[in-house]
Amino acid sequence: MSPQPRSAVGAPLSRVDGRLKVTGRALYAAEHEAKGVLHAVIVDSSVGRGRVTSIDADAAEAQPGVLRVIHHGNAPKLPYRDNPGSNNPPGGRRLRVFQDDKVLFHGQPVAVVVATTLEAAQHGASLVKVRYDAEKPSTDMAAATPDQPTEYARGDADAALRAAAVRLDLTYRMARNHHNPMEPHATVARWDGDRLTVWDKTQWVVGTQTELSTVFGLPLASVRVISPFVGGGFGSGLRCWPHTVVAALAARETGRPVKLVLGRRQQYFGTGFRPAYEYRLRLGSDRRGRLAAAVHEMDAETSSYETFDEAIMLAGQMFYSTPHVGQAYRKVPLDVNTPIWMRGPGFANASFAIESAMDELAHELGVDPIELRLRNEPAEDESNGLPWSTRRLRECYTVGAREFGWDRRDARPRSTRDGELLIGLGMAAAVYDPGRMPARARVRLGADGTAVVEAAASDMGPGTYTSQTQVAADALGLAMRAVDFRLGDSLYPQTPPHGGSMTMASVGTATLDACDKVRRQAVTLAVEDGESPLYGADAEDVVVRGGRLHVRGNPARGETYRSLLARNGLARLEADGSYAGPPEPARHSYFSYGAVFTEVAVDATLGLVRVRRMLGVYDCGRIVSPKLADSQALGGMVGGIGQALLEHTVTDHRDGRIVNANLADYLVPVNADIPDLRAIYLEGEDTRADPLGVKGVGEIVQVGVAAALANAVFHATGRRVRELPITAEALL
């Protein structure tokens, strides 16, 4: 950190954009008005695989207000150049909308109706008659053939497994999950000549910009993407999806701005999802529970046209001390749309398997689950031999056990009752690999003593506006209200995707760098300015507070930014800041950690699991914004409760249709499901991580929750459920 006094960073501040949001003045993607805007509604394929044989748009086009029906039969050929600078998976070929007659999955866009009103467009879409030559799709992972595995090995896992005194062979299944943000995905697209502007729901304006420029063959500078507010993302906005291209295409074809909002049903195949997994885990240990071998075999859904990959393997390589590890990660191509990262990607699935298995091993050996984990705590990252930057997992266990009352737990399953209910306590450890990527930011300190900071970035809810303002305010020595942090525009300095828990470390460091530079410019200006009270002072001794520069320890000797700039005839001071990313090669192994504790009450007669309380203790480095971090943790736990007990995207394998593509049938937790949740962040920072000492909090908070719940259900009932979500029928 800078030499500046820290007053905003670490303070429990409310969201700087809170008032805008609660008064409805924060504009989300679909709320941006473009003059003369038309409305577009996509027609989705009603077959799961095959070919479009004909499209009859006559009835739709005859409707008042309907202007155009665009489909593969009349759409222009689009360049669809390769786009390595995006989150498109490197393997495969992305879906090219309206470029051919092929149907690759149920719900694929096959046409779009453009009309003067939303109602006309919706009605028109229902009148388009599409005929297909349909084939039976392959959507069932259990019945499909996987790709070649991605493998990892150290030692001789099979031999060590055979030789182990204790062996477990366990298979876990996890349902497909959808992000289901409150705000639907939406795009407003407008062309001015050959320049394209889109207002989009996205977690990465830069990625959407590159995608649109490559799809339409435009120079990057001809595309501007604007996304100041995002009503929840959880990963669904990390990629530019086909509907954004459709909106831009419709706008170009009609010569007018076009607004396209995906319906709730369309979110389920119009954007990505957390793929379903089958995860076989074999563990071998000695009688004390020291792991000797672990063999992980993971099968995951992907689409037939792209290979989606996520960090499912890492936890199995580094989390517990294990001399012999073998892994095979196989993607199963299916006639579905391509998955995308979802909160705690990879780790939220791996941890369910690994942390359930550790609980099973603890039970098998009669060892306390925390003790078993302590016996397998590695001294270094055994996958690469690097020391940890920080790894305070032991403290997470100690603090968590104390605060949760873990020592009052009777280890015997089915030992604790409350009336008719069986009570269970469970825990799980958590780990996440937070990203750190190069980022830029820009700051302008104005003559009025206020500052504007800009970075492309995004704020899908975690509070980027607030936390970046905190960093900038401290570095500039300004009050929070004197800093205007702006984001969500591809014209602003480039930043990495707003996901993978990388925004605080990456964008935050760039913001810090830019603001430090401007403050130093001002300090240098003052100490070299004969008319300044600070003239001749050592620049290193000058700090700024509340917009006033002064000598440390001598507040009387100083002046404000305003007077300094005014006297020097300066309209502003400006600086660009950057973060270069983590050092190459890595000198430390860098992860965030947590321990999740939960208590459930199980109505064994009716098969109902009710969560009573949950505590998460996290090692996430410095916490910049405690109130927002707390919201993140609670949200992550809620997401984990959903993953564990409710969330399940269900496909009818006969035709590839998602049958519960709505919020009445795809269940997410409601308030009544959410009990007493509590989060504790260990104090301190990770000085080896990045200049801010942060490790990111958004992902780790969902990791481990599902396993903790499954372990608690086992403790309550004696029944081990290895399939998510845990439903009534598994417990009857």
Binding site: S126, T605, R610, R654, V659, D665, A672, L732
Partner: protein, 326 residues
Amino acid sequence: MHPFTYTRVSDTREALNAGRRGGRYLAGGTTLVDLMRETVERPEALVDISGLPLGEVTVTERGGLRIGALVTMSEAAAHPKVRTLYPVISEALELSASAQLRNMATIGGNIMQRTRCTYFRDVTAACNKRQPGSGCAAREGVNRTHAILGTSDACVATHPSDVAVAFAALEASVHLLGPDGERRIAFADFLLRPGSTPQREQALRHGELITAVEIPALPRPLKSGYLKVRDRQSYEFALTSAAVALHVRGGLIREARVAAGGVGTVPWKLPAVERHLVGERPSGALWTAAAARAAEGAHPLQHNRFKVELLKRTVERQLRVVGGTR
């Protein structure tokens, strides 16, 4: 949504005239408008009846209760007479939907609501109820939430209402007004099993209007209550549910009213369970023995086999809760 006309009527005569011309009655709109958005429902004319004077709850001469068709779910649930005389109705209502929906939805609309079968609600799927003769995608499809009782080859969809289960248990009746005047029909005859005509869900004649639901007087003291079993704790339709009302005098059960929800193509009255209870002394063993008969005649499907056992346990639990003996 398909284009439609909208007319607001202020008296029942006007409503019936519009209804006779094919208009669809619109009250709270929480089901109909939803389904219009999905293009499952495509009415050409909507007749808004929310201004009609059908919003009263009154005690009948015999001591029963008459709930006007336009009483909202939240009004009915909160009504002192409903709460004291028939807690099972209040509980069923309060476990339904969300507060916002209960503020809009009406009792008449509630018993008219259509199934939550996802194939019914997806116009690209086969559904005999939505499009007679197109087939039933649910029977061999994803059917965890579907019915195990009252099903037919043509349809296996459940009736989604909770309060209708209470009405079925209490042997309510429905007051109707049509071009030919008023009539009254037993609740059990009002909702139709699918048979070979699943598109026909109520025994309504063309243009007929529901004016009230009447709950008959039952001997006092009457204990009653509703249990709803579902994956999440609020805002979800029932996997199973049970409405139970018991009149116990002199240590014996004199009257029993039991029905189940979430399991039938219509709210499922359980006469075998009731018969098993009447004349007996309340006991844990009695609840178990009576509930064992709850799933008689069940035809489970691939994904809803668990409902057979869950139904029995649901009924047993609620008999115990209402009957008060372990």
